[in-house]
């Protein structure tokens, strides 16, 4: 009898590991999605450079997060702020978690590459990427997801990482894009110029792949599928899908009304915004709530991209700051509004919303300050930007000695 109970417990454990691995594999594939979106939304002369950055932050993240980052994030808590680091993690019964967290970490890192595309020195990016995946991301991640972190204790809800992953990446991107400065020709005579992406099909394929990956990202963050979790996972799949759809439709309508034509690149950003926006609350809101969060996210991203580009004059070629930073923060706040248990619209008052705001703010501050310090030092030492002539010629030929497209 006990034997049987043990076996059943073991089966449930197997199911959870199985699901976490499959979900992690889908999340892994998001790297291809990011690469395609970023390459598609930028000029062909910088394609190899973008691929290289995305590939390298995955590789460096995989190695660095395993080597030290994972324990900084999930090691025994030191004062609720940081985990006890240890080297080269190797805990036989926990490797599925290491994998799942690794691909999340790589996601946070790769977001930055979009915001700084087409002008950043490759070596500088590599160094930043290493610090991002081993220090910046793990520390704030610890606050929320380790279990003993100070934000967990406050009751902060960020189920799958609208803030922990996306807005950390987004804010780091904001600081980086601002410090590095706009691409040559982006702003002339106080006017923002359009620099067209070179392949919209890549952008679209990338978004399809990201959307697919998000079915690992959000539902996988249940970190289980046995027992009652199965239905939770299914719920999350639905909220995720509805938010993405609503985000895309909203962005489509908004650009159609505002600019006269339905704009593909904004609609794609709208879908991504819906996905980022629902990430925090995917397990806490109803399908209707999810659709609304998606719609709000889609609306916000269109406005935010315009404001950051034209008013703040920060050059973010792919909209990473808006999609991941702004909408990531917004989505986290909206949990306080739409959570069926404790949300403002469900009679929960402002309490949860307040906690959400604290989390969004403190993690944002951390990401901004940490990134600023790192990049400031890099700026004073090896520099952030490629030489002007290299930028004009394109980073592919100058940094990597080859064009992406040939006969």
């Amino acid at each position: 009898m006990e034997e049987l109970t043990n076996q059943i417990t073991e089966i449930n454990g197997v199911l959870d590991i199985f699901w976490i691995l499959v979900a992690g594999i889908f999340v892994f594939f998001m790297q291809a999605g990011f690469t395609l979106v970023e390459a598609g939304f930028t000029r062909s002369k910088n394609t190899i450079n973008i691929v290289m950055k995305n590939l390298m932050d995955l590789c460096i993240g995989s190695l660095g997060f395993w080597a030290i980052g994972y324990t900084i994030m999930y090691g025994e808590s030191i004062g609720k702020f940081i985990g006890s680091p240890s080297l080269f993690y190797n805990e036989p019964g926990d490797m599925h978690n290491l994998f799942f967290q690794t691909v999340f970490c790589a996601t946070a890192a790769t977001i930055v590459s979009g915001a700084v595309a087409e002008r950043t020195k490759f070596s500088t990016y590599i160094i930043f990427s290493l610090i991002m995946t081993t220090i910046i991301y793990p520390i704030s991640g610890h606050w929320v997801w380790q279990g003993d972190g100070w934000l967990t204790e406050l009751g902060f809800i960020d189920f799958a990482g609208s803030t922990v992953v996306h807005s950390v990446g987004g804010w780091a991107g904001l600081v980086a894009a601002a410090l590095i400065g706009p691409r040559i020709g982006k702003y002339t005579g106080g006017k923002s110029n359009a620099i067209l992406g070179h392949n919209m099909m890549y952008g679209a394929l990338g978004v399809f792949i990201l959307w697919l990956g998000w079915f690992g990202f959000n539902p996988g963050s249940e970190l289980a599928i046995s027992g009652g979790s199965a239905n939770n996972v299914a719920n999350i799949v639905i909220t995720t899908n509805l938010a993405a759809a609503a985000g895309a439709v909203t962005a489509l309508i908004l650009t159609w009304v505002k600019y006269g034509k339905p704009d593909l690149s904004m609609t794609l950003n709208g879908a991504l915004a819906g996905l980022v926006g629902i990430t925090a609350g995917c397990a806490a809101v109803s399908p209707v709530g999810a659709a609304l969060i998606g719609a709000i996210s889609g609306f916000t991203v269109v406005v935010s991209i315009a404001v950051i580009d034209k008013n703040l004059k920060i050059d973010d070629p792919v909209g990473a700051i808006s999609v991941h930073g702004v909408v990531g923060a917004l989505g986290t706040l909206l949990v306080g509004v739409f959570a069926t248990d404790g949300g403002l619209f469900y009679g929960g008052g402002f309490k949860q919303l307040g906690v959400q705001a604290i989390g969004v703010f403190s993690i944002g501050a951390w990401a901004i300050v940490a990134t600023f310090i790192v990049l400031f030092i890099l700026k004073k030492t090896i520099g952030l930007r490629v030489p002007e002539q290299d930028e004009i010629k394109g980073l592919d030929i100058t940094e990597h000695g080859m064009n992406a497209y040939n006969d």
Binding site: N193, A194, L196, G260, D263, S265, V302, I305, A306, D309
Partner: protein, 112 residues
Amino acid sequence: MKKIEAIIRKSKFSEVKEALHNVGVVFFSYWDVTGLGNEKEGHVYRSITYSTSDIQRRYLSIVVNDDFEDITVKTIIESAKTGEVGDGKIFVSDIAECYRIRTGEKGGETLK
């Protein structure tokens, strides 16, 4: 012999090609270029409204014997015209000599 270079709207190409065909001008080369001219196109990309005069055009290069010059020019003008700004230009210049690679022969005969 004359070289007639025409820069036309891409969307008019099949009409022009057919019209030229009908008057017996069936040998030429073409490629796509970007043209700057009077025409401007307004666009929006990621919330930025901009207007560009860098417009995709098709470039036709046709070498003909002198007696074909007028009909070629006339045909292009008729078939490529929409009446809107941006219909393009035709330039005529002299060709000193002309060879057919396959046979090595030269002169106006090679254009027939």
